[in-house]
Amino acid sequence: MGIEEKLPEGILTTSLEALVNWSRQNSTWPLLFGLACCAIEMIASGTPRHDIARYGSELFRASPRQADLMIVSGRVSNKMAPVVKRLYDQMLEPKWVIAMGICASAGGPFNNYAIIQGVDKIIPVDVYIPGCPPRPEALLYGLDKLREKQGQERFTDYTRDYARKELAKYQAIQALTPRKAGR
């Protein structure tokens, strides 16, 4: 049935979408970026016992421009929030965010003047991991959940999203650009 019958052995067919999603799922590079206690557990998940390399995520990139995934590992203070936002903006699409631990998810025990009550106030979050701090296993489970999400992504969503964002950017620039005199 279909083209598979005509093909020689060892060749599979799939949709481009599935292929791209599959490759993204298996090489999500996180940003090398730690905030507080959870960052230590994030390091622990990279070490031999937990071995995040099994998920293709062992390559923590120091530059946001090379990273796909931001793991917000810890409490975000008022002073840090603009920095986190800028780092997120510098990452290239497609990008994902994991809020690791209760502080990044909702402020945790620090409901006070200094801490932002959840990083989702400044950047969109894909997966929330509870715990204080979550164990490395929990982080790996969170990664698994993210893989599920990545597997369901559609190109059409991207293009629509992308077009919408580009249009908004264009309009914002237009609004900000001062018109030259005499025009």
């Binding site: 622990a44 780092l87 025990p109 006070n112 003047y113 200094a114």
Partner: protein, 614 residues
Amino acid sequence: MSPLNVSPKRREYEVLPSLNVPGIPAVAPLPSGETEDTRRIVERFGQDILAAGLHNGLQTVIVKPERLVELAQFIKDEPKLAYETIIDVSSVDRLELPIPQGEPRFQTVYQFRSYRRKKHLMVISPTQGDDDHPRAPSLTSVFRGATWPEREVYDLMGITFDGHPDLRRILMPAHWPYHPLQKQIPLGGEEVPFSLTWDDPEFETLGTQILPAESVKPTLPPGMNRRHMIINMGPHHPSTHGVLRLVVELDGERVVKVDPDLGYLHSGFEKTGENKRYKDFVYYTDRMDYLSAMNNNLGYVLTVEAMLGVEIPERAQVIRVIMGELQRIASHLLWLATHALDVSGTGMSLLMYATRERELILDLFELVCGARLTTSYIRIGGVWRDVPDIFLDRVRQFIQAFPGRLAEYEAMLTESPVWRERLEGIGVISREDALNMGLTGPMLRGSGVDWDLRRDMPYSGYENYDFVVPVSQRGDSYGRYLVRMEEMRQSVRILEQAVANLPDGPYKTNDRKVALPPRPELDLSMEALIHHFKLVTEGIHVPPGMYYHGIEASKGELGYFIYSDGSGRPYRLHVRGPSFNNLYALDHMCRGAMLSDVVTNIGSVDIVLGEVDR
């Protein structure tokens, strides 16, 4: 800049008359009696000493602010006193206390230490000026180590220090509208919306706490010259071990000046602690220095226990020592791993090896309390639970395996030419500078000062253990490396003795005013039930007074200063984080070095930003 909307109102539960404030808040009693040191000081300063003597067993002097600098100079220079270093500067806002009419609202509190004479001195001074603009003389001309702590007091409490060379905010963003530790300022934060619909108007308040971006725009620190190259490291930088921002002024590749910009992880621990009951703050201490949670627990509970005057059973003390030393090894291992990762070619492999051993220690913690990092195992009055039977065997296995592994790491590093090249002669601190800057822990011992709180001011029964305090006369990063490696060995020695001599008996105090009664007793005894009820609803009552206690944590002296007004919550809680004071030395270490040595020096100081920023 638009005005910041940080929870303008006190939340309802903050103004409700709470269950845990019995009676009228009381000020700390004045110190009484006299010691040799306070007698000398009173002889010299006469009427300008408002009170002197012992307070909760601490030598305490209350001095008029006019003569504070003179007093600091005197106790430093007088050979019979020889208080060589300043440990801490903190402050108290007595707004809610019944202070006598005419007394100023703020006090500054100083901790001095004589390493030679093994003495500690607390100096308290009321502020000058009116209550809205308190001022205090700066001690930076006498002790350089006061520079950052005074900046912190200015930032959080709003006390201006006259004569301070560089008085600006250190933790909060530069344009922050108020000084958060003042008592009229609410804790802040956001209402927790108990609703699940997004249409709820409560959600309108969300996000109002976030600063506009321009308010944290990096500025050029004062004294830096644009003719040199200014390089910004961090707050997102792989080798700053967290969210530290360094502004580095470079002449070619030589460092002219380094200005650390802190506060990217400021979490308001002190203010939060003042709004929690005593036992509830134990859980917060874990999250300060999250690499040595057990030591943080220990420092806090020892302070509260000393104020309460409770006796801790022998078994609990030995368990605490075991946990503290395991934690010291775990913390040093992560320091070694990250330091090697930054500096040496063998980096990644050492990270893998060192975390292997660290995981074994975390397993042990998990065995006793279920948590790996944030243990909260050491509680006021003892420990949370007794250790399981299997625990001691597992510790013995670890003790047996660990020294061999440590030797492997040393074989990889100690004589390695790359390692020596990167560390030797880098970040040199002389003995005098180390004392003057108020450094503690391995930073102090690496500069040739033979001091360890465990040996010289023992707590938790450390006087019963036989161990050597490693000291290096080198003063450079290599010396500090040697000190930390030897400390791990000595920790193993302490562990061996502790495991061999773990006595039987209760694991927490029998004092019903401090520790909960055992569960079976509740079914039988009305009295136990009453104690249980009082402890759960009101918490522990600490008698009015103040106390400072420091312990030797893995990074240096971790001190807690508590001012109690007799209620169930600390009136003022201040933490002296060793990383904070040690990081002050970074500028001193880096001047004249190459840019790549800045990374070596950061690793060599061994900081944890959770504790630096608090």
